[in-house]
Symmetry: C2
Subunit: 218 residues, 2 copies
Amino acid sequence: MRASETAYRVLRDEILSWRLAPGTPLSEVELAARLGVSRTPLRAALSRLALEGLLDTSRGRTGIVPDVSPESVAELFELREALEVHAARLAARRGDPAVFAGLAAEFARAAEVLAGQGVDAYYEVVADFDRAIDEAIANPAMCGALEGVRTHLVRARRLAGDNPERLLRAAEEHRLICEAIRDRDEALAASAVAVHLRASLNEILATLRSRIPQEGIR
Amino acid sequence: MRASETAYRVLRDEILSWRLAPGTPLSEVELAARLGVSRTPLRAALSRLALEGLLDTSRGRTGIVPDVSPESVAELFELREALEVHAARLAARRGDPAVFAGLAAEFARAAEVLAGQGVDAYYEVVADFDRAIDEAIANPAMCGALEGVRTHLVRARRLAGDNPERLLRAAEEHRLICEAIRDRDEALAASAVAVHLRASLNEILATLRSRIPQEGIR
DNA sequence: ACCAGCGCAAATGTATACAAAACTGTGAAT
DNA sequence: ATTCACAGTTTTGTATACATTTGCGCTGGT
């Protein structure tokens, strides 16, 4: 594994998991020492993070971990809506009905999965769903854009936490989306995605607002 | 100006303007010598181009200028449709009607502009339109995604050339979009964008197919 | 004639030294 | 008290030397 790749993955994981808090400056020399690589590959990792929006280089010379504000989450979800509504349409148009029928069954069993195997097992089903969408639309440009918003979503979701009731409703929303795609109903798939995104956004914003007083936004 | 920034802009311009043809290998040592910078800033420029999709690093170690195939253009336009249809909806929802009324008037004069000042003056109006959309939606995440597709579009457009009849029809389509946004008619704005994109794609694909025999796709 | 194995060469990946630029704190003057 | 200027310090930007990898061609065998 290349040193630049290692540094990138470590830093990306630390940012997405909130081990690196928003506002933390990412100094080249300090990180190079901590990760045991020289500044050259570390710079490559930082510039890659910056281009993906996981590092804010707009203020001053030293990049800082970007803040997660209600505004930034709302903006992310507008982009997410643009991409995922269209992705659902494309999936309904050319996806494999059998695949999405299977996923619909998985989501129908979400209550058992959550109770028996925990939230990680549930999120694995969601990851399967994302992969199925990518495969169905078969468009590298779309998939790349989707990948970007999913990355940022991980960070917001970690902050919002795992509300069991919300996860059950989310599973139901996913089931509806899968069934619409299975039935090749583009309009319904698009609407079902829009419904799901609105509910998700509201959940995250509610959690975010209740936590702001404790966290301290700069 | 930083050397890495200079190298990035030069290479980006050379790729978008087709001075660097698809398939051309971008060797670090060769480019560093040609642009008069060392390999370190040049590498930063290349990695940035690769992340933006203007350099294909998936085949072999040395990156090559990506091909522009009918498939890749069609894929780009699916992403473009996802983003621009939603952007038009957002612009209709919260844009300044006066701004888009003014742009509609500009597009109505497109025939004069094209005849009197040439295609560059017309494309400047389109650039004004893009800026107005960005300002109206006021969403950095959306704007960043739009910027990406516009960049790739430049390359496809250069290939397709400037068909005068098509430009006149495109101006008319833009006028309709602006009027819909001006009237805060989200559904019409979305439809008008979809119409425009389909016509643009068909034009580019037609030109592309007629040129393939001469150009030689690898 | 073709294929496998090997070695060379050219390209990229990394480390480090040096240059330049930008923030910080101090000091004095208004 | 505030602001401006300046120097020092820290941080990033660049160049170059070295390490490592990978692709390619040569040679020998079948």
